[in-house]
Structures are given as C-alpha cells and as structure tokens.
C-alpha cells in the first residue's frame, strides 16, 4: 500500500490554477522526486499536504487515512515532516533549542527531549553548531537545520523542498549522503529539487509537472529522456540552469 497518495489534487489562487488534478502515489521506503520548472506548483503541493492552505479539490491519503482536512500540526503529529524552501529557522533560539522544540512532539520530559534532539543533531551532522543562534548560520547549515528539525519530529514521511539549492559542490555531496542516510533509517522521502545531479542520483522514481499539470512519471532515466520534460525545461529559456553541474 502506498504511504502517501495524492488524488486529483487541485489548487486555485483566485484565477490562477497553480495545481491542476495531480495524481501520484509514494511507496514506503522510496525516494520520490517531484520536479518541474519554476512556478510549476511543487511547493504548493507540499503546502496542501501539510495543510498550510486547504486543497481546492481532490484528496490526500496518508497511510490509508484521508488527511485532506487535517490541520498542520496534526499532519506533523501523524508522521509527515517537512522543510521550507525559504528556510524558516526559529531565529533567536539556538540550534539545539530549535531541535528540542521539535523533539517535544514525541517526548514528555525536558530530559528526553534534549537527549532526542542531541541524537538527531548528531545524525544530521549539526552537533558542532548546537550552541549557535539559528540566525547566524550559513545557508548550508540552515538548510540542514530545516532537515534536522523535521527529523526530530520522528516522521515516517519527509517532504524536502529544495534543500540542496544554494549549496556548493562539496556541500551537495554531503546533502546527498544525508538524504540517503535518512532513507536508510526507514523514512520515506519526497524531494523537490532543481539540481538534476541531485535528483537523478538519489530518486527511485520521479514525477514531473509543468503549469500545475502532470507531464510524466517514471524512473530517472525515463523522465530525463521524455521529450515533453526536455521541452518544458529548455522551452523556458533558462534551460542551462538545470543542466548538470
């Protein structure tokens, strides 16, 4: 059974149809890539899953239960963690405190939460920054903090929104390694990414959308060779931006 299923998901912003009847199913344990040119509706899909705004129509099924109308904090409690494309650290708290705040979702006492937070920091490689204020972090560390904070809520499904954007090649390799490590720990991952090198390297399957509509879905190789995908990316004039680094 699919862990996450999206059925005819649609979102209208006034006259703009940002997401138009998108369907996909994510299998437990896989890394599922979601790609599309800028403004194609990827972040909007994430925002509907975590219910930052309601879907205009369609439904979202998580572990067999309909969560289309479940509130944001409950979605998280059910086991869906997410990161934000534009990072949103709790700026005037330390990195450790950021993660403790998340860890409280599954921990009862302060001691437990702190221990869980420290473990998650270690797992994600942020321990050296534990005492730093979140607002002082470099962009790479901020992206990592997004992932760490989401992981501290012990999700079974993790939604990653462009966590590799803005990283240098060395940091990219580390990010890829971390995502693989997260999958190995048993967490299913849906990843939105523009950098082809990342998405091709780690996705088991890729779903491609453009203008809110599905173009195709398949293995990285199938998607990369799909004529419409190539057209969608190159046709936007900015094709070079998505080429391999």
């Amino acid at each position: 059974m699919a862990i996450l299923e999206v059925k005819d998901l649609t979102k209208n912003f006034g006259g703009l149809r940002a997401v138009d009847s998108v369907n996909f199913a994510v299998q437990p344990g896989e890394i599922f890539g979601l790609i599309g040119p800028n403004g194609s509706g990827k972040t909007t899909i994430f925002n509907m899953i975590s219910h930052f705004y309601p879907a205009s129509s369609g439904s979202i099924i998580f572990n067999g239960a309909d969560i289309t109308r479940t509130k944001t904090h409950q979605v998280c409690a059910l086991g869906i963690g997410r990161t934000f494309q534009i990072v949103r650290p709790l700026k005037r708290m330390t990195v450790l405190d950021n993660v403790i705040a998340s860890a409280f979702l599954r921990c009862r006492t302060m001691g437990e939460a702190r221990k869980a937070a420290e473990e998650t920091l270690e797992f994600c490689g942020l321990t050296p920054y534990a005492k730093h204020l979140a607002r002082g972090l470099s962009i790479a560390s901020r992206k990592r903090l997004e992932i760490t904070r989401a992981m501290a809520t012990r999700p079974t499904l993790l939604l990653l929104d462009e966590t590799a954007a803005g990283l240098n090649p060395g940091e990219l390799d580390e990010a890829i390694a971390l995502i693989k490590q997260i999958r190995e720990s048993g967490v299913t991952v849906v990843i939105v990414e523009h950098i082809m090198r990342v998405i091709m390297a780690i996705s088991d399957r890729i779903h491609c959308i453009n203008h809110g509509q599905t173009i195709t879905e398949g293995t990285p190789r199938e998607v990369a060779n799909h004529p419409e995908v190539i057209a969608a990316y190159l046709g936007h004039g900015g094709g070079g931006q998505y080429a391999d680094h």
Binding site: L90, K91, A101, L105
Partner: protein, 331 residues
C-alpha cells in the same frame, strides 16, 4: 547557581525585610505597587515577550479581577478575599472567548482585539450600573489597617508569578511559546497546535493579572471603571514595565516595575514629595510653578519614555544590559 543568582537573591532578602526596616507608610505603599506591577508585568511578558502576542488589553483582566473581589463584597457580602481565589479564574473566563475569536486570525487582529476588549470592559462597567454602580465605583472596608499584610501578600504573588515563569521557560510550554513567537508557521510545521498554546499563554496572563486586580481591590478598598480599566494607567503601564525592564527576560518586569513606579511617582508627587518640601523650605519663587507642571506631566513622561526606550533600548534594561555597561564604561 548561587553566584549566578547573587543579585536576585540579595534583592529577595531585601524585599523580605523591607517592611521591618521601613516604617514609612508612603514608601510601603509604593513597594506594594511595585510588587503588583511585577506580577502584572510578568504576565504580560509571558504573553507578549515569550509568545509574541502583544496585548493592549491588560486592564480588562485587571479590572475583572478587581471587580470580582469588589462585587462579591458589595452584593453578596462575602469577604472580598474570595476574589483572590476567583479573580484569576474569572479573568481567564473572559479571556477565553476573546482568544478563541482572535487567535486563529493572522495579523493585527489580536492586538486590536485586546485593545477593544479593554474598552468594552470599561464601557460595560460604566454602563451596567445595577451591577457595578457605574462611575460611582465600589467601596469596601479594608481588612487591615497596617500595610504589612498587603505587602507580604503582594510579595508572595510576585514570587509565585516569577516561579511560574521559571517553570514555564524550562518546560515544553516555554519552548512552544518561543517557537510561536519566532515563526508561527514553522511552529505549526513541527507539530505545535499554535492556537491552543496561545490560549494557554493568554490564560496564564489573564490569571496572574486578574489575581493582582483582586489583591488591588482588597488593598485599596476603592475602585471605579476609570481606574481599573484604564488604558494608559494599566494596559500601557504594563507594556512599559516590561519593555523598560526587558522583553523576554525573567527579571525584566522586576527591574521595569521599580523603574516605572519610581518614574510615575516622581512626576505624580513631584519627586516623592521632595519638591513640595523644598518649596516650603525655600518659599515661593519658580518652584511651585515647576511642581505644578511636573505633576501634570506624568502621562507625557510615559509617552516620551515609550518613544525613547523603543528607540534606544529595544530590549530593555535587562536585555541590553551589556550594551548599557559598555556605554557607561566608555564614558
């Protein structure tokens, strides 16, 4: 721990022996006010400084607490001391529908709603004469002639509120409050029910403020809507106590309460009555005129203080202490 907390513990010691050392009723009265403001300021700090929900309606809860105590004595002829138990819960009850309406809305709704709540309560207390005696106010017999029992009650309440603060900031609640203040969406995304925890914060604020209001009624023996539901003397004063002392710090409201009561008194009484004494000693001249202007200017001073503090000490005396020290050392 002891070294870290050195000055706080010495302050506590001083406060404990204060009524024994100082017999003067006027200064005892001022200290009782300071302690009440510590409680009210701490409550506001919890809601605004820690949870990020700025309220202009502290007077609503203070007044409800005060009227709870006053009306129990006035209508039911029960001791007004019951207000000390019931004032807090009743204030929470008033806060509930208000938070329930305004918290799910984004933007300025909560701040505006709180301002409206304070005004509504004041107008209600003025108009509903059969219940509240309207503008005439409520007069009750005080239990004690001496100020000492009131002093220790106020001290106990202030200590309790700081204790609540200490406990909250070290627990899940504190983490959740601060997360909400920093970024409500991010907080929701890590599983925090933001509306619910904002309600908890509001309730703690209302409870502390309401209890302080009830103690005020018992102590002063007289209240009317203009006094206990006052926008400038209660709601704005509460904000000032915290921003002068230090938003989001535990000791901020304590420092702020001392400073603000002092500022208020300097203006209201012309330098703790000093100017008046001076006038009598020197006689005539410009002093009476000066005294008259200074006593009139206390609200102006408040306004100027708001402006100056926000511009120069945005994190208050405690929050900007290292900056202040550096500036003093430099010259």
């Amino acid at each position: 721990m002891l070294r870290e907390r050195g000055w706080e513990l010495s302050l506590l010691a001083v406060l404990l022996v204060f009524p024994l050392a100082v017999q003067d009723a006027y200064f005892r009265h001022l200290m009782i006010l300071v302690l009440l403001w510590v409680t009210i300021g701490t409550g506001w700090n919890l809601l605004a400084g820690y949870t990020g929900q700025v309220s202009f309606g502290t007077a609503a809860f203070f007044g409800v607490g005060a009227y709870t105590a006053g009306l129990l004595a006035h209508h039911l002829e029960i001791s007004a001391w019951w207000g000390l138990l019931l004032g807090g819960p009743l204030a929470v009850l008033v806060g509930f529908p208000f938070g329930w309406i305004s918290f799910p809305l984004r933007g300025a709704y909560f701040a505006l709603g709180s301002l409206a709540l304070g005004e509504i309560m004041r107008l209600l207390a003025t108009v509903w004469e059969s219940l509240t005696e309207g503008m005439v106010g409520i007069l009750i017999m005080q239990t004690f002639v001496s100020k000492v029992p009131y002093y220790y009650l106020a001290l106990g309440l202030a200590l309790a509120s700081i204790l609540v603060m200490e406990l909250v900031t070290r627990s899940r609640l504190g983490y959740y409050f601060v997360s909400i203040r920093e970024d409500q969406d991010a907080a929701a995304s890590i599983g925090i029910d933001t509306t619910r925890y904002k309600m908890v914060s509001l309730s703690l604020h209302a409870f502390l403020t309401g209890t302080a209001g009830a103690l005020y009624m018992n102590y002063m023996g007289f209240i009317d809507p203009q006094v206990v539901f006052s926008l400038s003397d209660i709601s704005i004063m509460a904000i000032l106590v915290v921003i002068v002392g230090g938003v989001g710090t535990i000791m901020g409201p304590v420092v702020g309460a001392f400073v603000m009561v002092a500022v208020q008194e300097i203006f209201r009484s012309g330098g703790f009555g000093g100017l008046k004494a001076l006038t009598q000693a020197v006689g005539g001249g410009f002093l009476p005129v000066l005294t008259k202007y200074i006593t009139q200017a206390h609200v102006l001073a408040f306004g100027v203080l708001v402006v100056v503090v926000i511009m120069t000490l945005p994190n208050g005396i405690v929050g900007d202490w290292s900056r202040i020290k550096r500036a003093l050392r430099r010259g």
